[in-house]
Amino acid sequence: MRELFTILWSFLKIGAFTFGGGYAMIPLIEYEVVARRRWLTEREFCDLLTIAQAAPGPISLNTAVFVGYKRRSYGGALAAVLGTVLPSFFIILVVAIFFDQMRHNHWVDAAFRGMRPAVVALIVAPIVGLAKGMHWALIGVAAATALTVWYFGLSPVWFLIGGAACGLVWAARRGEEVER
């Protein structure tokens, strides 16, 4: 029971102090889980990151489920998820309630006009790094996905399913070659 509270407390801290989400949270999680609590070894943490990135959902949430479940099964997973989610839930709720009232304030409106292009820039910036080193055909797939989702309003889910199916076929064929 005490460890459940420790898990909850650790992930509450992580949830409350990690700005920018995802990748920004990893060093903090690593410090808490590997160095401080010794719940995982360095190697286990590396493997965990691979899995957390491959699985759907926010990376920090996936990491929390893994650590919590490994320590204390279902209860541990739930405690870790509550810890990750609760701080942002309450902060955002407060922001949402007050932001509605100041939405039309002259200065707030001006600030947001300036912030919107910067937000788009933060989204654009990692694309170059991700596309670097990718085969030209895969860059073509990425471009086709981007243009179709944007221009025709098609849900990206279909492309994810298609990509997964292609990967599966490719893996199966490569497997046959290896066996031969």
Binding site: T18, A55, S88, R113, T145, V157, A171
Partner: protein, 181 residues
Amino acid sequence: MIATLVQLLVSYLKIGFFGFGGGYAMLSLIHSEVVVHNGWLTSSEFTDIVAISQMTPGPIAINSATYIGYEVAGILGSVVATVAVCLPALTLMMLITHFFLRLSGNRYIQGVVGGMRPVVVGMIASAALLLIFPAEEEGASFIDLWSWAIFGVAVLLSARKVNPILIIVGAAVAGVVIYGL
């Protein structure tokens, strides 16, 4: 009311289940559900929520779920959307953790992950395109040349690994000076 809550639940379960590639890749999915299919928000309101999510702690997917849930159906809506976006990750990750050792080197899993990778990059790019050139005229994020100037400076700073919160705060100050005074 009940119909809206059910729609929120379905939309955010979908976002949670297909949210591969983390925060930014999930944005195009969230945009597709929230702006295109359900019309709960305009494109610029969506961008504002992304900005707020960047400046508050926690993952963007969860922050946006809480915020949009509240906008659409009040506090109950924010609870429903937040729980819905977490449920798929919670169940899937528990399964994965359970079978961890057997899965990690599996070539089919690697194939699936590899096949989805270019799509994830495309999803991030489409999120950017959707915000730069929204379908509806009203609610655009880029309104004049100043917008493009802020965008250019922010891309350069971000490439140099400047803290994203600083970039957004800087852009807010620029906005107050350009549009407020």
